[in-house]
């Protein structure tokens, strides 16, 4: 047990660091108009492709430089935290609720419900996820809502499979039997007894899923299938930077860093929670 305690202590910084970055991003999203040094959409062709403040040729007030249309990279970076977090929360929660509900049903009741749901999951897994998301968004017409719906439609299976397996395990436990013996209905047992025990696994998955949603949104806006161009996104900034990579690397690099840190923070937060929740490690 001494070993286990050592692990718990070591996981401390993981949760704190990732949680800290996510809080920072959330604050940036909430207060975006207040803290942005410039209007993220304001163009000034005279100030195009200005380098960041530590490189010769920069202009004061443009800390991370400007893109080819003279828009401030830092302000766009801050403004882009909004679509990223909206998609992370919207798509993460939607996929979580849909997948967990079906997983609970399949795992708890078994039989036909389980067979049908498991078959649908198999069929779903036969689609390449990125391709399917591009397909769905194109059908719904590109917008933030479409991105959220598409990610939820694709990724509910992640929740469904894990929650189903966990629920099946819990179903065999004595406490489920005793709840039944006490005369609880199946649904009451499912929601009052089983769900709280499966919840830690769901929360861990949710954090991982939010990271996936952020990267999928970036990919979709990279191919111009997300929000319209009057909202800055990390993906659209990366696409612009890829085009002018030899003239202005900073347009590409800063949104990449923001995207990487955010995706990393979501996954590390999930891993940290997993270690926290795991009764063996605890």
């Amino acid at each position: 047990m001494a070993d286990a305690r050592a692990i718990t202590v070591r996981t401390g910084p993981r949760l704190w660091l990732s949680g800290g970055w996510l809080t920072l991003i959330a604050l940036a999203a909430i207060f975006a108009p207040l803290i942005s040094p410039h209007d993220p959409l304001a163009q000034d062709l005279m100030l195009g492709k200005l380098p960041p403040a530590w490189i010769a040729g920069h202009e004061p007030g443009y800390l991370l430089g400007t893109d080819s249309l003279g828009r401030d990279v830092l302000s766009r970076l801050i403004s882009a935290t909004r679509p990223a977090l909206i998609v992370a929360m919207g798509a993460g929660l939607a996929a979580c609720i849909l997948g967990s509900a079906l997983g609970l049903l399949a795992g708890f009741f078994g039989g036909w419900a389980d067979r049908i749901i498991s078959r649908i999951v198999d069929i779903w897994m036969a689609f390449p996820p990125v391709l399917l998301s591009i397909l769905l968004v194109a059908f719904f017409n590109p917008s933030l809502q479409s991105v959220i719906i598409a990610i939820a439609i694709i990724d509910w299976t992640r929740f469904c499979r894990v929650v189903r397996a966990e629920t099946m395990q819990q179903r065999r436990m004595d406490y489920v039997e005793s709840a039944r013996a006490m005369g609880r209905t199946s649904l009451a047992t499912l929601f009052r007894e089983v769900l709280p025990n499966v919840l830690p696994a769901i929360i861990v998955l949710l954090s991982l899923e939010m990271g996936i949603a952020v990267i999928v949104e970036a990919i979709l806006s990279y191919v111009n299938l997300s929000v319209s161009t009057d909202q800055a996104t990390w993906g659209s900034m990366i696409a612009e930077g890829r085009g002018i990579i030899y003239q202005a690397w900073w347009v590409l690099v800063f949104p990449m860093i923001a995207l990487f840190l955010t995706v990393l923070a979501f996954s590390q937060f999930g891993e940290g929670l997993k270690e926290r929740f795991d009764p063996v490690l605890r």
């Binding site: 078959r119 649908i120 198999d122 069929i123 897994m125 036969a126 689609f127 390449p128 996820p129 990125v130 391709l131 399917l132 591009i134 397909l135 769905l136 194109a138 059908f139 017409n141 990267i215 970036a218 990919i219 990279y222 191919v223 111009n224 299938l225 990366i238 890829r242 990579i245 030899y246 690397w249 590409l252 690099v253 990449m256 995207l259 990487f260 995706v263 990393l264 996954s267 590390q268």
Partner: protein, 334 residues
Amino acid sequence: MGRNLLIRIGSTMVTLFGVAFIVFILVRVVPGNPIAMMLPPGASDADIALLTAHYGLDKPILTQFWIWLGRALQGDFGTSISLRQDVMGLIFGRLPATLELATLALLIAVALGGALAITAARFRGTAAETGIDLANGASLAMPDFLWGLTLILLFGVAFPVFAISGRVSPTLDLPFVSGFYLIESLLRLRLDILLDLLRHMLMPALALALPLAAVIAQLLKTSLKEAMQQDYVMLARTKGFSETRVLLSEALRNAVIPTLTLAGVQFTFLIGGTVIVERLFSYEGLGNMAIDAVINRDLPLIQGIVLVFALLFVAINLLVDLSYALLNPRLRHG
């Protein structure tokens, strides 16, 4: 084994049927009349009626599905709206490029992941293992999309040793008869073309391979370390074999099975990843064409590509299951 095989193939068929049905329904619920999109503006009502009847769109939706499925089974996915060519021809023109890229990536991932796992297991408990664990963690944290961009910055811009777009230099004269450029250049011993191909393919392949290499390295290392504790390994040690020899000749053989299964499943993710990585590197493969098809709302082409990708996914999963059954003696008589 024979009965299990039949059940497995049967369930694969059911999955494929479900995929076909979903693709069919998805394309039918799209806003906008598909016939109107196929015809040039100003087509007469008679033309519209003719084409509607030709595609069976005047019949009930289930009948439409059977007609469509029958054509699809014969390889007839219709004509691409944006490119005005046979969809099957377009797909087969691009598929070799994607298969070569994905296979190269898989080979890199297996070689790299395997080498890292063996090194970490050989020097377990030392700084080498810690370093490899850290590198694995970093590699896993980054999705292929970001790896692609990072590689572009590193080896395309900062140290320009590789090409960052396309599959082959357009100035080269290609004497090939198939779309499998890499294989043909090897067979024909055209090293100049082979090098040019690799200069274009290595970075996208690496972007796809790195996350998978990390997964393989982690799992294989764990299995190797477990195997090194087993009795038969102890026995080999008492015979005086060196640690490296014990690892390579005894432990590896037994540790490799779970990794193989995982690598197969992960290979389908890798193929899914080609869509965006091909886009990043302007690589002329199926995934890149898929994105163009979606942007142009080219429904017949989208349908065909999604079905071909799904077929690949399902086929790989089936092969993985079969090879697992063959490799694992415990399942052979299941």
